[in-house]
């Protein structure tokens, strides 16, 4: 379990990092918290010739308000999601998801941007960018761009990121009055990848649901918004009939993968149960 030899470059600026990657070509990887990449290197599943350490780039750090959004720097550690007051106030769904992300040692090093960039379909944060309607800010050889979370996750570990690009920040619309959120997951042990997990952000007028975004993880190749279920609820209230309709809609919204441990029908069942429980909580004003 020793990685193949690699070169290491510590970038101080985004430009340095991008240039280093451009020079090295496909054989380079950016490394931030390293919580997924380092095991992959040790297992020799990946063996890049160059690691570009972006963990010391000041422009990737920090959380701040920018107009109607919260700009969360890509290097924000998972543990900061638990401790930062701006997160608690303006992105409480991320605060709610954070305790479920792995274990404290991993949360101390793993980064938000790294998690979104890896796009593990079983991870909490990539799915939450969908629920939040976030935008991903990307820097690359041809400049900066923003991609909606809805357009970011393409397939298994495949995103809108092009080779040589890196995520610089994630922009999240500020949480406001009239919104409700809920998060939970079903994991066999605390800190494990969930069998199924879900985060919801709903906007209300009184009890009427004006808009609702429901994102699941651990249900397929990518984090998944369930638009059928959302449609079943939009314009209604969280009554038992609408919750049942939303649960029923998951059958079309989700196509869980074959798995010897969690058969597709079981995962769909668990997704329905979880959705029912979360919507029940939202109905109670959660």
């Amino acid at each position: 379990m020793k990685p193949r030899a690699f070169s290491y470059f510590r970038a101080d600026t985004i430009d340095q990092a991008l240039n280093a990657h451009a020079r090295a070509g496909d054989d380079a990887r950016f490394i931030a918290g390293g919580q997924s990449l380092v095991p992959a290197l040790s297992l020799r599943l990946q063996a890049p010739r160059l690691l570009i350490d972006i963990a010391h780039i000041a422009d990737l750090r920090g959380i701040r308000r920018e107009g109607d959004t919260l700009r969360i720097g890509a290097l924000t550690r998972h543990c900061e999601m638990l401790s930062e007051p701006l997160i608690a106030e303006f992105a409480p769904l991320l605060r709610a998801a954070a305790p479920f992300v792995a274990h404290p040692a991993i949360r101390n090093r793993g980064t938000f941007g790294g998690s979104v960039a890896l796009a593990d379909p079983a991870s909490e944060f990539p799915a939450m960018t969908l629920a939040l309607g976030a935008e991903i800010e990307i820097a690359g050889p041809s400049g900066s761009r923003r991609v909606k979370a809805d357009d970011f996750f393409i397939d298994l570990f495949e995103t809108a990121l092009q080779p040589g690009e890196l995520i610089t920040a994630v922009h999240v619309p500020l949480f406001r009055s009239g919104q409700r959120f809920a998060f939970d997951e079903l994991a066999r042990r605390r800190g494990d990848y969930a069998l199924v997990g879900c985060g919801i952000l709903a906007s209300h007028t009184g009890d009427r649901i004006d808009d609702i975004r429901i994102a699941f993880f651990s249900v397929g190749n990518t984090p998944t918004r369930v638009k059928g279920a959302e449609a079943a609820l939009t314009g209604f209230t969280f009554d038992a009939a609408r919750i049942a309709a939303a649960q029923a809609a998951l059958e079309d919204d989700l196509a869980p993968p074959e798995s010897d441990e969690v058969p597709p029908a079981m995962r769909l069942h668990l997704a329905r149960v979880l959705l029912g429980r979360l919507l029940g909580r939202l109905g109670e004003g959660a």
Partner: protein, 791 residues
């Protein structure tokens, strides 16, 4: 008013006292000396190329590129090591008719499980060795893979070992007679088929070894993370043809073992050979994935069993068939059939019935070997017995406690012989049942359960009685021809300053062996415990003995220390009597002082006796030769095993929508005879229970149809962790064995023995309103939801 004085109020009374482990501070301070951390001068590192196939012919191995890589010192194949290492066979004579193919460090022409080591590389660093592995080309020709146990038993199925008639390793039968007649006429018969997942030990520190062959002195020193240094001294000596006195095995601190680290592993044997070939120290530490595919696995049994009862719920007979698959070889030197053997002999053990029949079938397949792991066979025997008893209780209309009270062997009915031939000296099932009932507040728990059920909350309560095998005599391995000692040795010395040093053959794995030995020595001699130093785990220093396995450290090792110390005390008092012109019998030792036995008046510090004996022997009467070092050996006699017993209970909640189980509380009442250190016994029980709960809910080595282990990482193989574990409440009954002066029996496996059975019973109890049942472990959400027909 203060409590009445007890024996614990005597000075230096350490037996029965919770004192901290003297070595705990060192380990907590990060000062442990683990083989994984060891660096010797000129040390090289080994890595192994492993088979990607579960069964294949090796057509060719090309090592030229690997050998040419800078930093590589040796690339060795099976043929290279076969020149210096004799093969081994994992059979024992007392398992009549068992077979297993001879094994070598690395295979010559065929691989038999996915993950088997095929080629070894030794290099300057582990990283270079792994680079070299990528340069080795092995051409394989696939052979038909035998994975499934039913497939392995079919006539005409591919053979794991060519040349054998079938895939059977061993068959055994027990029959007390009359079983069919009893079943034919019984008022109630209950039957079930159970299955138990394969799982493995997952030690915090993986297997680690540094072999250091010095061609100058023709001496082999092996630093080995093992429980049994003497056994390995013998094995390395015999298989590499090095005289035993020139083989030294040092077992220092070890990061967990649980029975997994007393078997011969191919890589470990290979590393010894690599060091001999190179004349340099060679280190190998298994990484986590290597551990999953090469450490022994355990369990993997399928048991069909039935129980017959009379109309009042008295158990009359049991009939059992145990089928187990053990991988491609039987493990050396303890075999892979002991677990099955113990399953069929322990089933029904707490109960009074007479008619018993059991058949055991042990089958080869293309997976890694199984063998002894904490609580060998016990959890299976316990789960089968206790679930059947619960099913019978439901059928007869008795409460789980009531049916057990009716059927356990009465506390005043000992000695007893079980229908399987086990001889019980004295057990305490009735007392344990009473204590558990009170401790659980059973009636209140049942009332709460009924109340919550009305509100859609499904709680389950489960109990499980057990019998545990401890303090094994030579009946365990010795009679089968294994050079595995059931005796232990101790050397106890009074040092010149009046302290005591004890070298003992039992070893320390973190359970507190050294602590209890120092307690026993201090107690028996009359000395403060901090003045006793215990040294373990070095064949050059400590006397030959069985070391630590099968719950023998306290019962056998402890008795060895006790008897050795009594001899030393007698010798000290003889010298004291000469100096003081007293009779030895009139003297005693308290707190390091020789005292008048009757008045406890201090006469002379033992340090003064040591000073005179070591430095001024001229002042002693002519002819006096002070013997202040005593060596003593003790082998268990009397009963072949010291059986212990106990009962566990658990309370849990099943989420019937998700299939998730929440463990609420676990209870243990346990009787391990004389308790030396209650805190350590409780820790052993809690650790054991947690391992049993892991088996019940989480742990399983899952294989694909092609024999690939598909969950060989700690992200996929779930071990029990703190967040999911309940509080574990413990109480004790003490029935000392009369076979020893100490009276201690083992306690290391009791927790594991019954924890999974308890959970199985509790889950089934919770599912009663739905008419759903579970008969396999681990009990996963998928199994519960399937049973409830939720998907």
């Amino acid at each position: 008013m203060s409590a009445p004085l007890t024996s614990l109020d005597r000075p230096n009374s350490y037996i029965g006292r919770s004192v901290p482990r003297p070595n705990a501070k060192r380990l907590l301070a990060g000062r442990g000396r683990y083989v994984s951390d060891l660096r010797l001068p000129r040390m090289l590192h080994a890595a192994f190329l492993r088979s990607p196939h579960a069964h294949a012919k090796i057509i060719s191995i090309d090592i030229e590129q690997a050998r040419a890589l800078e930093g590589v010192h040796l690339v060795a194949t099976g043929a290279d090591l076969a020149k210096i290492c004799t093969p081994w066979t994992g059979t024992l004579d007392h398992f009549k008719g068992m077979t297993s193919a001879p094994q070598l460090p690395l295979p010559l022409d065929r691989v038999v499980w996915a993950g088997q080591a095929v080629v070894a590389v030794v290099a300057e660093t582990r990283a270079i060795a792994e680079d070299a592995l990528e340069l080795i080309e092995v051409e394989y020709e696939d052979l038909l893979v035998v994975v499934d146990i039913d497939c392995a038993r079919e006539v005409g199925t591919p053979l794991v070992n060519p040349g054998s008639a079938n895939n059977v390793c061993f068959r055994s039968q027990l029959d007390s007679g009359g079983v069919d007649d009893v079943f034919a006429s019984a008022a109630h018969v209950v039957e079930e088929e159970f299955s138990f997942g394969r799982h493995t030990a997952v030690t915090l520190e993986p297997r680690a070894i540094v072999a250091d062959y010095d061609p100058g002195s023709e001496m082999l020193t092996v630093h080995h993370g093992t429980q049994t240094p003497y056994q390995f001294q013998d094995l390395y000596s015999r298989h590499y043809g090095i005289p035993e006195a020139r083989v030294r095995v040092i077992a220092t601190d070890i990061g967990g073992s649980f029975g997994m680290k007393l078997h011969v592993y191919h890589e470990d044997m290979a590393v010894v050979g690599l060091s001999i070939l190179l004349g340099r120290p060679v280190k190998y530490v298994a990484d986590r994935i290597e551990s999953f595919v090469s450490d022994i696995h355990a369990r993997d049994h399928r048991v069909r069993a039935r129980i017959a009862l009379d109309a009042k719920g008295e158990i009359l007979a049991m009939d059992v068939h145990d089928l187990t698959a053990i991988g491609a070889f039987s493990t050396y030197p303890r075999t892979s059939v002991v677990e099955g053997n113990q399953v069929i002999r322990l089933i029904g053990a707490p109960y009074r019935f007479k008619n018993y029949r059991a058949a055991l079938e042990v089958i080869f397949q293309n997976k890694v070997q199984t063998s002894q792991y904490r609580a060998v066979g016990h959890p299976i025997a316990c789960a089968v017995t206790e679930r059947l008893v619960d099913m019978a209780a439901a059928k007869v209309g008795l409460d789980p406690f009531a049916i057990r009270e009716r059927n356990v062997i009465a506390d005043d009915a000992y000695p007893q012989t079980s229908p399987t031939g086990y001889r019980f000296e004295a057990l305490s099932h009735q007392e344990c049942l009473r204590r558990l009932h009170a401790m659980m507040d059973y009636d209140a728990l049942r009332a709460e359960q009924a109340d919550l059920r009305k509100r859609g909350v499904y709680r389950g309560i489960g109990i499980a009685t057990f019998v545990e095998i401890t303090n094994p005599s030579p009946a365990f391995y010795g009679v089968g021809g294994a050079r595995i000692s059931s005796q232990d040795g101790a050397i106890v010395s009074l040092t010149p300053t009046g302290e005591v040093r004890c070298l003992i053959s039992v070893t320390e794995q973190g359970q507190g062996t050294e602590a209890i030995i120092s307690q026993i020595v201090a107690d028996q001699l009359g000395l403060a415990q901090e003045h006793v130093k215990v040294i373990t785990g070095d064949t050059e220093v400590t006397p030959h003995g069985g070391a630590t396995w099968a719950c023998r450290g306290a019962g056998i090792g402890g008795e060895t220390a006790l008897q050795a110390t009594r001899v030393l005390k007698r010798n000290i008092l003889e010298i004291a009597a000469l100096i003081l012109q007293e009779q030895p019998a009139a003297l005693d030792i308290i707190d390091g002082e020789v005292v008048d036995a009757a008045t406890r008046q201090q006469r002379l510090p033992i340090s003064e006796i040591a000073r005179i004996a070591y430095f001024r022997s001229d002042t002693l009467p002519p002819g006096t030769q002070a013997q202040l070092t005593v060596s003593h050996h003790f082998a268990p006699q009397g009963y072949p095993f010291a059986f212990t017993n106990g009962i566990q209970g658990c309370s849990l909640e099943v989420d019937v929508e998700t299939g998730f189980i929440k463990l609420l509380k676990h209870f243990v009442v346990e009787d391990c005879g004389r308790i030396i250190n209650p805190m350590l016994v409780d820790e052993q029980l809690r650790g054991g229970v947690v391992q049993g709960l892991g088996a019940a809910l989480f742990e399983e080595c899952r294989y694909s149809d092609t024999g690939q282990l598909i969950n060989g990482s700690l992200a996929d193989y779930l071990v029990p962790m703190a967040m999911e574990m309940p509080d574990i409440v413990i109480a004790h009954v003490e029935t000392p064995t009369a076979d020893t002066a100490l009276g201690a029996k083992g306690c290391g496996e009791a927790g594991t023995a019954a924890a999974s059975a308890c959970v199985l019973n509790a889950v089934n109890d919770a599912l009663t309103p739905f008419g759903a049942t579970i008969s396999t472990i681990p009990i996963t959400p998928a199994k519960i939801l399937k049973a409830l027909k939720r998907f």
